[in-house]
């Protein structure tokens, strides 16, 4: 199934959760940021980990939450 952005409903071409996460990060406007906080995450801290540590930890964490959000 193709994943929808839980905030604006955008569907990435690949439909993958990870690309949806990238979309949410990249857009990064107030509503999208708010969603991170609503999930008990911190947008800044996720950015930090993405910016400082190799690997994709932040995107993956968010992708999992998005999948979860899409399920329910």
């Amino acid at each position: 199934m193709s994943i929808k952005c839980p905030v604006c409903g955008k569907v990435a071409k690949t439909g993958s959760a990870i690309d949806c996460a990238r979309h949410m990060f990249g857009t990064g406007d107030k509503p999208h940021r708010a969603w991170f906080e609503s999930q008990g995450l911190s947008y800044i801290d996720l950015l930090l980990s993405q910016t400082t540590e190799p690997g994709n930890k932040a995107y993956i964490t968010v992708a999992e939450l998005i999948e979860k959000a899409n399920k329910d």
């Binding site: 990435a12 071409k13 690949t14 690309d19 990238r22 979309h23 990249g26 990064g28 911190s42 800044i44 801290d45 950015l47 930090l48 993405q50 910016t51 400082t52 540590e53 190799p54 994709n56």
Partner: protein
């Protein structure tokens, strides 16, 4: 186009003074009754000032005054007069200190020695506060607050985006992520920050100082001292270097002024070299995350970049550096989708700010290093991949910039030729390349100046000598000479006919000053316009005298006023001047010119381009790098002063190569560990590589005679070229500046481990 003065061999017009020791810098200024000031600085990175007791100091024989924040208006100042929240620095803070070396008090005494002794007698009662030194720490929840109420210590954020970035990534065949760390760098002007302030009972203040922008200093002093702007005269006839570190208000200027106003006596403050290292500002350290998507054939599709910069204790010009690093990180290539998010974070360290390149060297180091890695991953030639994506004339960077002239492709061709000409290199040699580009002056007006960005006044005297008054600032880059050349060319006289007046707000029109490579284009346009205005007036009289068929045009070349169509028919320039003066009732001929950019995008009216190749030799046993050759193909539009241009190029290489492998400002608990010229390494004559430059001539419609930026952008490529040369020589890529021998060695060890896998 054949010119008489432009692009000819011209001596700097201030050369004689400089090679005979006659040039008088602020450092040399001595006036009757002058006192000497010294500044007491905080030993703590973060502390509340509870009390300052200067009673003992004031009793010391020879001490005339001690001032603290309480003796000032307590204005939080900055160049950001349009954005008051970014004006966050009290030069003598009232509440607390935020970095080691921040001023807390200043003393004036009859000698420097007594002033220094007095500092030891001032008792400051500090309440030491928890401090934070790394942006990645400062931004975490619960980190100490550098400025009260600034959440997560985030000072400014900048976002740049165009195209559909997600889609561009989806359409990419290959995506690469890299992490980089760029260090700070000291401007290290040979003349340290210094000022002589003289306040007189008539309420007027004169300040001799070492600055890149007398007009900014005049305006800023007016704000912090509560004086009328025009009652402040700022004089900077000779300036011992600037490099982006001398257009903000500094403690030498502020404290000497406050002391002088208190005493109505001249006060001189000269920073020691150590003060200049620990208590001015520095190039902005940056953490870069870069994710880039490309097609199999090397076409750049998408780039997403996140940057955290170490802002230090105050904003300085760091907010602009944060924006420009993000923009020039995309430069000089075309991207279907580009997204940049930058965060500037306060820490309890020396504030960071603009420095030659204004954020671009960091952005380009990360970009150009990754491009070489991508080229290797895809098996594409490194010149080819750059050529494929290069900016071209009349390209528009969506929503950001409109490019007119652009010689990047020609530059790449030239450099490719040169690399081929080197043939097969001996072992442990490598050549690295980096493209670059830069702005020709920022369109930004954070200062909210009501004046034109640049102005010029040309006055022709009875004897034909021309007085050119400009507000643009000579700091060694040769702007006085450039303006003299432009004026002489436009007016049709010789360089020796021009006398340039600059560096004095009482004599010269306002001008934003020497930063962002703006003067050749902006002050150059103003000067050209003023000269044209004066020439028009001369030609009116000449026309009346020659009485040509009115379809004929007149012009002046090399002091000969003539018909363009029949050059032999004309008059001597000096005769025409004499007649014109009489015709004007004895008034000297005065021409006015001014320039302010309009409808030129977000950044600059024009962009320079180039490609640099750096050949190095590495000792694989020690990791030591030796610079061998540095060749640059350079599109700066129409060169105005070739001698000055070459000097700018070589100077930029020495400074930028230093950034690449030598210069760093390591800290422990907020304390800079190398605040002296023994431990802070600067390239000396023996470390400088041979240099060669190919001028790629283009014509920039927005620039005077087609000229554009020529000195600052050259700081952008060298660190990247150095890293890429190491990659070429040994196949290792060091992503942390500076690239020290130890880092090279560690990278070699890691490579061995991987190769053995």
């Amino acid at each position: 186009m054949k010119y008489n003065v432009i692009n000819t061999h011209v001596h700097n017009i201030d050369g004689i003074e400089k090679v005979t020791g006659r040039a008088t810098y602020t450092f040399d200024v001595k006036i009757p009754g002058m006192l000497y000031g010294k500044i007491l600085r905080s030993p703590h990175p973060h502390a509340r000032i509870v009390n300052i007791d200067s009673s003992k100091a004031i009793e010391l024989m020879g001490v005339k005054a001690v001032v603290t924040g309480k003796d000032t208006l307590g204005v939080k100042q900055g160049i950001w007069r349009r954005y008051s929240e970014l004006c966050d620095e009290q030069i003598l803070p009232l509440e607390k200190v935020r970095y080691i070396g921040e001023p807390v008090a200043a003393v004036a005494a009859v000698t420097e020695e007594i002033a220094e002794q007095a500092l030891d007698l001032i008792e400051v009662d500090y309440e030491v506060l928890p401090a934070v030194y790394e942006p990645m720490e400062a931004i975490k929840k619960g980190a100490p607050e550098v400025h009260e109420g600034v959440e997560r210590n985030i000072n400014v954020t900048r976002h740049i985006e165009w195209g559909d970035v997600e889609e561009a990534f989806e359409n990419s065949d290959y995506i690469r992520e890299d992490w980089f760390k760029c260090s700070g760098q000291a401007h290290m002007c040979m003349e340290t920050r210094c000022a002589v302030a003289s306040y007189t009972p008539d309420g007027k203040l004169t300040v001799w100082t070492s600055t890149q922008s007398p007009y900014y200093i005049q305006g800023l002093l007016s704000g912090v001292l509560g004086l009328r702007e025009s009652d402040i005269r700022v004089i900077a006839h000779y300036v011992g270097g600037g490099f982006g570190g001398k257009f903000e208000l500094d403690a030498a200027q502020f404290c000497s002024s406050v002391l002088s106003m208190k005493l109505s006596k001249p006060v001189k403050i000269v920073f020691s070299r150590e003060e200049d290292f620990i208590a001015t500002k520095r190039r902005t350290p940056m953490f870069y995350y870069v994710r880039t998507g490309v097609k199999k054939d090397g076409t750049f599709m998408a780039r997403e970049t996140r940057v955290f910069t170490d802002g230090g204790a105050y904003t300085g010009m760091g907010a602009t550096a944060l924006y420009l690093t993000g923009f020039f990180h995309s430069f000089p290539y075309k991207w279907a989708g580009y997204r940049y998010d930058g965060f500037r974070v306060y820490t309890n360290t020396l504030p960071s700010t603009s420095m030659r390149g204004f954020g671009a060297p960091q952005g380009m180091f990360c970009s150009e290093t990754q491009i070489d890695l991508i080229a290797r991953d895809l098996g594409i030639d490194r010149v080819e991949i750059r050529r494929k994506n290069a900016h071209t004339p009349n390209y528009e960077v969506p929503g950001q910039a409109t490019i007119a002239s652009c010689g990047l492709t020609e530059c790449l061709d030239k450099i490719e030729e040169w690399i081929k000409s080197r043939g097969k290199l001996p072992p442990n040699r490598g050549i690295g390349i980096s493209s670059y580009g830069f702005m020709s002056g920022g369109i930004f007006n954070w200062f909210d100046s009501p004046y034109s960005f640049s102005s010029a006044v040309v006055t022709i005297n009875y004897d034909g000598k021309v007085d050119l008054h400009v507000g643009c600032q000579e700091i060694g880059q040769g702007s006085n000479t450039t303006m003299a050349i432009i004026c002489a060319e436009e007016l049709g006289v010789r360089i020796e006919d021009i006398r340039v007046h600059s560096g004095d707000t009482a004599e010269c029109p306002p001008d934003l000053g020497a930063w962002g490579s703006r003067q050749t284009l902006m002050a150059g346009n103003a000067t050209k316009m003023a000269a044209a205005d004066a020439k028009r007036q001369l030609l009116e009289f000449a026309t009346a005298k020659i009485k040509p068929n009115i379809v004929y045009d007149l012009d002046i070349k090399d002091r000969w006023v003539h018909l363009v169509a029949r050059p032999e028919r004309g008059l001597d320039y000096f005769e025409v001047v004499k007649d014109a003066l009489r015709g004007k009732g004895g008034q000297r001929i005065v021409g006015r010119g001014f320039y302010t950019p309009h409808r030129k995008g977000m950044i600059s009216p024009a962009y320079s381009y180039g490609v640099q190749a750096l050949e190095i030799e590495v000792d694989p046993e020690t990791g030591k790098i030796k610079l061998v050759n540095c060749v640059t193909a350079h599109d700066c539009g129409q060169p105005i002063n070739p001698l000055g241009l070459h000097g700018q190029l070589e100077g930029a290489i020495s400074m930028a190569a230093g950034y690449g492998f030598l210069e760093d400002m390591p800290m422990e608990d907020g304390k800079i560990m190398n605040p002296n010229l023994v431990d802070y390494k600067i390239i000396r004559a023996t470390e400088m590589p041979e240099t060669e430059v190919f001028e790629i001539d283009t014509y920039e419609p927005e620039g005077p005679f087609g000229a554009k930026e020529a000195g600052e952008g050259l700081t952008n490529p060298t660190a990247a070229a150095l890293g890429n040369a190491l990659f070429d020589a040994l196949g290792i890529s060091v992503k942390q500046l500076p690239i020290t021998p130890e880092k090279v060695l560690n990278a070699l060890r890691e490579k061995k481990l991987e190769d053995n896998k």
